[in-house]
């Protein structure tokens, strides 16, 4: 094994003084992994860990498609994980034989994004829906109706994201249109709904959401559950709407890209992230739910103080759309903002 490592190291990085066995390159969502865990893993295993961040699944996919990214770990969301398996961009590392596999909550095991659970171990899951400023609004929030067809109180005080993905998904949940519909008539209804909503919308922006919502610039904002929880824990007057039509969900999993130079360290890291102790630290940092077992007594966010992380309404995971369906989504979005 040692020889193999040395050979690989020499082959891969002639001129580099460090040996490959002491390295691990992460490419994960920006600021998504608890820094203290990186530090701990680095010390326990004598491994130099480098962390690069991305802010969209498309960025990650593009990089992996370009080949030889040099990364050992990536964390795609479920629909992109499916694409990466289908396109042969990530390794089968026998995830279902690891200890980490047994730690996965039954609900998130062997799902459509990785039926055999050989390619991935989930690390975080959450939802996207409407957040409200509780100082400005105390009306009902239990239906998407109040946000897509707002009355005078919320009119002009709503903000949506600047990208279609989750917004179109929420509109589809409200209308009962299936995700990734290839039916133009159904998608036309989605467009009509969003067009009618537009006159009540102040902004379509994914930046500075916390500032916009907590300052009262807008009263309702499409947002991520964990961000709401973090803002609320920091004292902002915000809350997350549990809409009975459902909320759009996502789950990020740790995977190993093809050609990862430090495969063994990557597997070690995945096992490391899935121990109850570390998973708890991770959840307390990231404020998104953990799909693997955690130590409940040490959880910072619980059903009592952070109900947003424990939805009691249906959670519908975003799907991998065909190009035809994706084109309809893009068409809805461009016509909405034309």
């Amino acid at each position: 094994m040692k020889q193999l490592y040395s050979a690989t190291a020499i082959a891969l990085c002639i001129g580099s003084s460090a040996f490959a066995e002491g390295k691990l390159n992460l490419y994960v969502w920006s600021e998504s992994i608890a820094p203290e865990l990186i530090e701990k893993f680095s010390q326990e295993n004598d491994v130099e860990v480098s962390v690069d961040g991305y802010t969209s699944n498309e960025d990650l996919l593009t990089k992996l498609q370009a080949g030889a990214s040099g990364y050992d770990i990536a964390a795609p969301s479920q629909h992109f994980l499916r694409i990466m398996i289908d396109e042969g961009l990530i390794q089968n590392f026998g995830a279902n034989k690891l200890a980490a596999y047994d730690a996965i909550d039954e609900r998130w095991r062997n799902q459509w994004w990785d039926e055999t659970q050989e390619y991935s171990i989930p690390v975080a899951y959450g939802t996207a829906g409407f957040a409200i400023n509780t100082n400005e609004y105390d009306g009902p929030t239990d239906s998407l109706k109040y946000f897509f067809e707002p009355d005078s109180e919320l009119s002009g005080k709503i903000a949506m994201l600047s990208y279609p993905d989750e917004v179109v998904g929420a509109a589809q949940l409200y209308l009962g249109v299936p995700f990734c519909s290839e039916n133009p008539d159904e998608m036309k209804r989605v467009l009509d709904l969003l067009m009618a909503q537009k006159e009540h919308v102040a902004a379509y922006s994914s930046d500075n959401i916390a500032g916009r919502l907590s300052s009262g610039e807008v009263t309702a904002h499409f947002w991520w559950d964990g961000e709401v929880v973090k803002a609320k824990a920091g004292g902002a007057p915000v809350d997350y709407a549990m809409t009975k039509e459902g909320i759009v969900g996502w789950i990020d999993s740790l995977v190993i890209p093809n050609g990862a130079p430090n495969r063994e360290n990557a597997i070690k890291f995945i096992e490391f992230m899935s121990t109850p102790e570390n998973a708890t630290t991770q959840m307390n940092f990231y404020a998104h739910s953990s799909p693997v077992k955690v130590i409940e007594s040490e959880m910072k966010y619980t059903a009592e103080n952070a109900p947003a992380l424990f939805p009691d309404v249906p959670v519908e995971m975003s799907r991998t759309c065909s190009p035809a369906a994706q084109d309809l989504v893009t068409r809805v979005w461009t016509q909405l903002l034309q």
């Binding site: 969209s56 498309e58 960025d59 996919l61 593009t62 498609q65 694409i83 396109e87 903000a159 600047s162 990208y163 279609p164 993905d165 133009p184 008539d185 998608m187 036309k188 537009k198 919308v201 102040a202 902004a203 379509y204 922006s205 930046d207 500075n208 500032g211 300052s215 009262g216 610039e217 065909s322 190009p323 994706q326 084109d327 989504v329 893009t330 068409r331 979005w333 461009t334 016509q335 903002l337 034309q338």
Partner: protein, 304 residues
């Protein structure tokens, strides 16, 4: 100051005949790889076929360009779709208006700075460039605070009876304010440089020949400072065409600009060839404008 710059002009560069271009080779290589090659790659992507999940496959297919004008309608038939043209026109309009406002504000400012005594002049020029030392995003965020609810400007207006909780954000005016603020130094500096070179005796001569202030401005000052104004206008117009941040953060992103449209196609839209086709269209529009300006100024030179 006038004498000094005239000196520089007459001196000219010393010509060395031996190996005139070889010494520039590193610069050419860097230019070629960093500037020209990427443009060819974008051109190639714009005529490729799209990959199912983003990316592209090499090929020759003009679907990307066709899509700018014709698309499948909701009834499933190909039809004329003005939405992308609208976005392109709106972007050009926004960049044009930004350039116009910058020009109107920059010429008097530059003139005033140029008329100051030497020491103060350098300080003022330094102050104009000062905002460049800060990240552009931060400057836009500063404007969000100024115009946003509870910010200084709405507070000020509330004193004069504006409705409480007023916000001046999320409209075209807010977008323009941030755009003008961001790009105006690029206009002030070249205009200042050309006004500074202006020969004061020519203005005196214009007055001696009974030219009033307006005539002097129109017939003497403006033609002589035209090169500075034109390069300032180009420096503002071109980056303003690609503005993404201001329309989204200040304008609320309710109407798409070309920058966000391209971003959408390369990102969630997963249609790289179309995104590249729009980018190429933008490039061609800019090049046409620049060529027209260059031709016109060349013509003027010949007339003179």
């Amino acid at each position: 100051m006038t004498d000094l710059s005239a000196d520089n002009r007459t001196q000219g560069p010393k010509r060395k005949v031996n190996l005139p271009y070889l010494g520039l080779l590193p610069a050419w290589v860097i230019m070629g790889f960093a500037l020209i090659l990427p443009i060819f790659i974008i051109a190639a992507v714009s005529v490729s076929t799209r990959g199912a999940y983003g990316g592209f496959d090499w090929g020759v297919d003009f679907a990307g360009y066709r899509q700018i004008i014709f698309n499948e309608g909701w009834s499933g038939e190909m039809e004329f779709t003005p939405q992308y043209l609208l976005i392109i026109l709106r972007t050009i309009l926004l960049a044009g208006v930004t350039t116009g406002i910058c020009l109107l504000l920059a010429v008097p400012v530059a003139y005033w700075i140029a008329s100051q005594p030497g020491n103060r002049k350098s300080i003022l020029v330094f102050l104009v460039t000062l905002p460049f030392w800060m990240s552009m995003i931060l400057r836009v965020y500063a404007w969000m605070i100024i115009l946003g609810r509870g910010g200084p400007l709405p507070r000020f207006l509330e004193i004069f009876g504006a409705q409480e909780g007023l916000s001046l954000m999320y409209n075209d005016g807010a977008t323009l304010a941030a755009m003008v603020y961001t790009y105006i130094p690029l206009m002030v500096l070249p205009v200042f440089a050309s006004i500074e070179k202006l020969d004061g005796t020519l203005i005196e001569a214009a007055h001696d020949l009974y030219g009033n202030r307006w005539t002097t401005l129109r017939r003497v000052i403006l033609p002589l400072t035209a090169p500075g104004i034109v390069s300032g206008a180009i420096l503002v117009f071109v980056p303003a065409l690609g503005a993404v941040l201001e329309p989204i953060l200040m304008g609320g992103g309710k109407q798409m600009m070309m920058g966000s449209l391209i971003q959408l196609q390369f990102g969630g839209g997963r249609n790289w060839p179309f995104g590249a086709a729009i980018a190429m269209t933008l490039l061609i529009v800019v090049m046409l404008v620049l060529i027209v300006i260059a031709l016109r100024s060349a013509q003027k030179d010949r007339e003179v």
